[in-house]
Each structure stands twice: as C-alpha cells, then as structure tokens.
C-alpha cells in the first residue's frame, strides 16, 4: 500500500476498515482506488 493509500485507509471509520478488508478479501485483484470506490457506493445504498 502506498503512503497516500495508507493515510486514506487510516482515516476510515472502524466500520469502513472492516468493509475495506471484506471487499479486499472478496476481490483480491482490486486496487485501493477500486475498494474505496466500492465503500463510497456502499454508503449510498446503506
């Protein structure tokens, strides 16, 4: 993970960090941007 990505990850809420890891396990080929995008969309449909 790049430093910028790490900073963005650390700024996530606890719940979103769990979500980040969940998405990453489900899509191991996705990059940080894709995971963050998915989290943003998940909030839209929450």
């Amino acid at each position: 993970m790049l430093l910028k990505e790490l900073i963005e990850y650390e700024q996530l809420s606890v719940k979103d960090k769990y979500l980040y890891r969940f998405i990453w396990e489900r899509h191991p080929n996705w990059n940080h941007e894709m995971i963050m995008f998915k989290i943003a969309i998940e909030h839209k449909v929450d």
């Binding site: 899509h27 996705w30 941007e33 995008f37 998915k38 969309i41 998940e42 839209k44 449909v45």
Partner: protein, 276 residues
C-alpha cells in the same frame, strides 16, 4: 409555451441574499445578475439521454426533468437526432437529445457513433441509463467502454456523465415475482425491508461488475458521485440524481439552481438511504 412566473429561481434568491448581506451597490448587482442571466438563459440547458430500449428513458425524463408526458419517438434505425427544446419558464429552456441505443448492429452502430461524436460534446449533462434488473450488462459495458467514454474523454466532457441505474423497484420481481415482500410498497412509496436487502445485494453486484470492467474507479471511468440508483416510475431516490447533475461538468449546477430545485420539491421524501 414558456411560463412567466413571479417566483425567482433559487440562484437568484441566493444572490439577492448575498447582495443584501454584503451591502453590494446596485451597479454591481446589475453586473452580476446580467452575467448570471446570460449563463442561465442565453442557451438551453442541454441533456443527452442514452439507453437501450426499455430502460426507462421517457419515464426518467418525465420524473427527473419534469417534462409532462414525454414519449420517446425514436424510430427503429433512425440516424437523425432532433434536438427537442422545452421552454420551462421565464426564458429558461431545457434541450433534450434522445440518443438511439446501440444494438450491436455494426452498420447502424457506425452511424450512431458519428451522431454521438457530434452531439455529446455540446451537452451539459449526458445521462446513460441502465436497467437495474437486467441480467446482462455486457452490451451496456461495451457501449460505455468502446464508444461513450472514449468520446467523452476525448472531448473532455467525462465529468458531464451520469450513470443512472433505473428500475430498482423491479429488482424484487426479477428474483421472485410471487413474493409480496419483494414487491414495492406503493402505499408508503418505498421498498419493503426484504426488497431493500435485495436491492442492496443487486446494486452491489452491479457495481462489482462495472468496477471489474474498468468503468468505475479507473482513470477514464465514472467517479462515485456520477453513479445514481433510482426508480423513475416511483420518483424514488431522485435527490441523488439531481446531486449528480449539479456536479456534472461546468454547467450542471444550472439545473438544480433553477427549475430543477422546484422539480425536486415535488418528489417523494423517500430516499434509498433514509434513516428510520
């Protein structure tokens, strides 16, 4: 015929308030108002709507843009797109380009692609509509990847795009048409709890696919605010739609700052992520 109303547009009201608070001279007020009106009224607010047959283009235009009884009159195989201008009120006009869907007919697609190249760069908002309960997004992905996004990127209007996922109300029917708990609650005008879960799951799958196809979260793809989920027929979650329009390119703000704000007031309060 365009209506005339005494009610100012929202943007005019906001500026009036700023002028009042800032003690702005009449001369400066006139300067700002003239520049603003030039932006709002000199040319129509141009919207292109793209989508395959049956995705709900007409219903979307009726619901989101407040067009009364708009019906798509695109003839099969049409290669001519007519700009339809709808005078709204007080000089403000909405212009709609109803674009033919690309249907994997190579010859027609070449003609349609020329039309897309001709029309899309001049549009303030470009709405690409997908049917949420479609089983196969392959064709939509192809059109977006091979035609729409390249044209928009080439002409620097990618930010004018809105990826609109319609018919979320029908997701339940596509799972089990006989389950009443998967039907839209027409009385409350919102999804049932079971349908809400089904919608979340389906939308999540759609997003996953679009990300895998490189259409989302990529350098040349859609940003998250450009993706909206809604039901045009129930006016549901259209607030996100208007937000996406507001953020579209350089002129998207014009719609919610004028007629769009008034249109939003007519919609249901129901929202996809409404808290209980």
């Amino acid at each position: 015929m365009s209506e005339t109303s005494n009610a100012k547009f929202l943007i005019n009201k906001i500026f009036d308030k700023i002028f009042q608070m800032g003690n702005v001279s009449q001369e400066e007020q006139d300067q700002v108002n003239n520049a603003l009106n030039k932006e709002l009224l000199e040319k129509p607010f141009r919207v292109a709507v793209i989508g395959q047959s049956g995705v709900g283009k007409s219903t979307t235009l009726n619901s989101v843009f407040g067009l009364s009884n708009y019906t798509s009159n695109l003839a099969e195989g049409t290669t001519e797109i007519v700009e339809k201008v709808f005078p709204m009120r007080d000089g403000f006009s909405l212009s709609i380009y109803d674009m033919p869907g690309l249907n994997n007919d190579v010859d027609k697609d070449i003609e349609y692609e020329k039309l897309y190249k001709q029309i899309l760069p001049g549009c303030d908002v470009i709405v690409y509509i997908i049917n949420a309960h479609s089983r196969d997004f392959g064709e939509d992905c192809r059109i977006l990847k091979e035609i729409v996004l390249p044209i928009c990127n080439e002409n620097k209007v990618r930010e004018n795009l809105v990826l609109a996922i319609n018919k979320i109300d029908t997701i339940g029917e596509s799972i089990d048409p006989n389950d009443p708990d998967l039907q839209w609650d027409a009385f409350e005008n919102r999804p049932t709890e079971k349908l809400k879960v089904a919608i979340k799951t389906k939308l999540s799958d759609i997003i996953d696919k679009l990300i895998d196809e490189g259409l989302l979260a990529s350098e040349d793809g859609f940003a998250d605010h450009q993706v909206v989920f809604y039901s045009a027929v129930y006016n549901y979650n259209l607030q996100d739609f208007i937000l996406a329009i507001a953020k579209a390119g350089k002129r998207g703000w014009i719609w919610p700052a004028t007629v769009g704000f008034e249109q939003a007031g007519k919609w249901s309060e129901a929202k996809l992520n409404q808290e209980k």
